[in-house]
């Protein structure tokens, strides 16, 4: 604002603020750039790479070729996409329909249902009862288990209800007078007005499904159903020996020379982040906007 008559002190303050923020940016980004550098380094040089390096030591795409051809990674990728896609479609449809009904203020038992939903936020009996319910329903080792597990997230439901309530009642009443049924009103009046909110919820659900590792890990004994996060966990955190033996066999297959665990790790972590990075611009656009208006409310 008044930049022309800034004092020396204020200028010093600005320099400090900017440097602190730049330092935070470096702390956030450097670990990811380091992984990228390691994954692109000539595999033979990878063991000598410093944790501080951000430039590859001799460029090579061996690791990425290996990852793209590794059967466990391929299966994980397909599973992750399948679970995320079907899960999100189901999530958004059911959440939006329920929110629309609950946003109608004269709906009988509205308050009761609302309270019953709130109870599920406040009281969680834990993972063991969840597991037993899945077992009782015969859903263990079925994709359906992780797809349905958080079908309607109570928090997102409440966010959507709040948003639908803001839609002017006159619009809905006018549609009712025109003889539109509740489904038509939902489709033609409510959804077009709620696009930003729905986009936000959709992204919430996408990120949730993509990042979920616990439920697939518990519910899937069958490794062929594992999504990428569980595969990543098995390789990178658990250090599964069988997986590494498979990796060595793959080395011979791709003809890559001496690929070590370090570069594989780096590549694998990045591989799992890539889809999140791909939708990150969308997230910035909708999440930040949604959260801002939510907080101002």
């Amino acid at each position: 604002m008044a930049s022309q008559n800034r004092t020396g002190l204020e200028r010093a303050e600005s320099v400090i603020i900017v440097s602190v923020l730049l330092a935070l940016v470096v702390i956030t980004v450097q670990p990811i750039l380091n992984l990228l550098a390691i994954s692109l380094t000539e595999p033979a040089n990878a063991p000598g790479m410093s944790g501080l390096a951000v430039i590859p030591d001799g460029l090579s795409f061996d690791i990425w070729t290996l990852l793209a051809n590794h059967p466990a990674v391929q299966r994980g990728l397909i599973n992750s996409f399948f679970i995320t896609l079907t899960g999100t479609v189901l999530n958004v449809t059911c959440t939006a329909l329920m929110a629309w009904a609950l946003s109608r203020k004269n709906l009988p038992f509205r308050r009761t249902i609302f309270i019953l939903v709130l109870v599920t936020i406040v009281f969680e009996p834990g993972i063991i009862p969840d597991y037993f319910v899945m077992r009782r329903l015969g859903l263990l080792d079925e994709y359906a288990a992780v797809i349905i597990f958080k079908m309607v997230n109570a928090w997102y439901l409440i966010i959507l209800i709040r948003f639908f309530e803001e839609i002017p009642n006159e619009l809905i009443e006018a549609a009712e007078l025109d003889g539109a049924n509740p489904f038509q009103i939902f489709w033609r009046v409510v959804l077009p007005l709620a696009k930003p909110a729905l986009a936000t919820i959709t992204l919430f659900y996408v990120v949730y499904h993509w990042n979920d590792f616990l439920r697939p890990m518990i519910y899937f004994n069958d490794q062929d159903k594992w999504p990428l996060q569980v595969v990543l966990r098995q390789f990178v955190l658990v250090g599964d020996k069988a997986a590494i033996v498979g990796l060595e066999a793959m080395n011979n297959y791709t003809g890559a020379s001496q690929i070590d665990f370090k570069s594989f790790r780096a590549g694998m972590i990045l591989f799992t982040i890539l889809p999140v990075l791909a939708i990150y611009p969308l997230i910035l656009r909708y999440f930040t906007k949604g959260t801002m208006s939510g907080a101002v409310k």
Partner: protein, 339 residues
């Protein structure tokens, strides 16, 4: 806001609200109160059914979901009071598993760990996004500000599997970034991940790395909603940047700070399952084992389902009391509940 008011009016206790207030709020909400003088009940029910059944059809998947995946587990939690039988029905044993739980030193240790880790996170992670939002607010160039913001939000969207991978790498004694830095300034290398003295700090700082940026958004939004006239008036009086931050910005976000602080306290027993589960290892497990990871190991890995359910149920009940207290405290203090 409107939602709360509406629910209050429709609550079974609405007789306690003076009718003047009800009609005032009612007309403000543009609602039709003539409904209160109305025909017999059966006709009403029939009308209601005719009008509202499509809405119940819409809610059906959601309602069934909540019944099966949220209320059925509550029923299944009775396992905490039973002994599991492979053949035949389970046997009711009352509080046996709870007694066993509290008698075991492992559970007491786990409980203590949970409290210590949560307290450390509230003490050291909670203030960071507030400071960050205040700093970001002082940046003059909107372009620089937005660039910084769009970078520091990113870690919030990474899974704990990924973040654990990143941290274990960065803290590695052989070639991690932190130890390479220590090497540069002449300090000796340390194995943070296997040192029982530092592992809890790893939890604190990895939590900070993941959430400080994103959480600052909430405070930044609160700052943005402060009346700009306040700043203009202060500038006329010759207030410095520091004064404005201290006397306008900070008081302006106190309600947000209070709400989030109370929410954090309400979630005290959730010390971070995903985080601990992915960052743990045999060398330091006893230092960071929390209730949730204990339940997992006992039940899913160890097959002691009744005992694990008892531990989970204990946490669920205490957590419920804390969450409800948080909600009503927040409502009383700031007029805004947790949900």
């Amino acid at each position: 806001m409107a939602q709360h008011t509406y629910d209050k009016i429709n609550s079974p206790h609405h007789g306690k609200v003076p009718s003047r207030v009800v009609s005032a709020v009612g007309s403000a909400l543009n609602e039709d109160w003539s409904d209160d003088f109305r025909e017999p009940r059966t006709a009403e029910f029939k009308d209601n059914f005719q009008k509202w059944w499509p809405y119940y059809l819409m809610m059906a998947p959601g309602l069934i979901y909540f019944a099966v995946f949220h209320y059925l587990p509550i029923w299944e939690a009775k396992l905490a009071f039973e002994d599991l039988r492979i053949i035949g029905p389970n046997v009711w044993v009352g509080l046996k598993h709870f007694v066993q739980l509290f008698a075991s030193p492992a559970f007491v240790e786990v409980l203590l760990n949970t409290l210590i880790i949560s307290a450390m996170k509230i003490a050291f992670v909670f203030p960071l996004p507030i400071l960050l939002a205040l700093l970001i607010n002082e940046v003059r160039s909107p372009r620089f500000r937005q660039s910084v913001q769009s970078v520091i939000y990113l870690p919030h969207f990474l899974s704990w599997v990924v973040i654990a991978g990143i941290f274990i790498g960065a803290l590695s004694p052989a070639d991690g970034a932190i130890n390479d830095l220590r090497d540069l300034v002449g300090l000796e290398r340390r194995g943070y991940m296997t040192d029982s003295g530092s592992i809890r700090w790893v939890l604190v700082w990895s939590e900070a790395w993941r959430s400080a940026g994103w959480d600052s958004l909430l405070y930044f939004a609160a700052i943005m909603s402060i009346d700009p006239q306040l700043y203009e008036a202060a500038e006329m009086d010759g207030a410095s940047r520091w004064h404005k931050m201290r006397h306008i910005t900070l008081p302006g976000i106190v309600p947000t700070i209070a709400t989030l602080f109370i929410l954090n306290v309400g979630l005290f027993l959730n010390a971070g399952f995903d985080q601990v589960f992915n960052l743990t290892n045999d060398a330091i497990q006893d230092k960071i084992d929390i209730i949730d990871t204990y339940v997992f190991r006992l039940g899913i890995t160890g097959g002691q389902f009744s005992l694990a359910t008892a531990a989970g149920l204990f946490k669920g009940v205490i957590g419920m009391v804390m969450m409800l207290s948080a909600h009503f405290l927040s409502k009383r203090l700031t007029g805004k509940g947790v949900w």
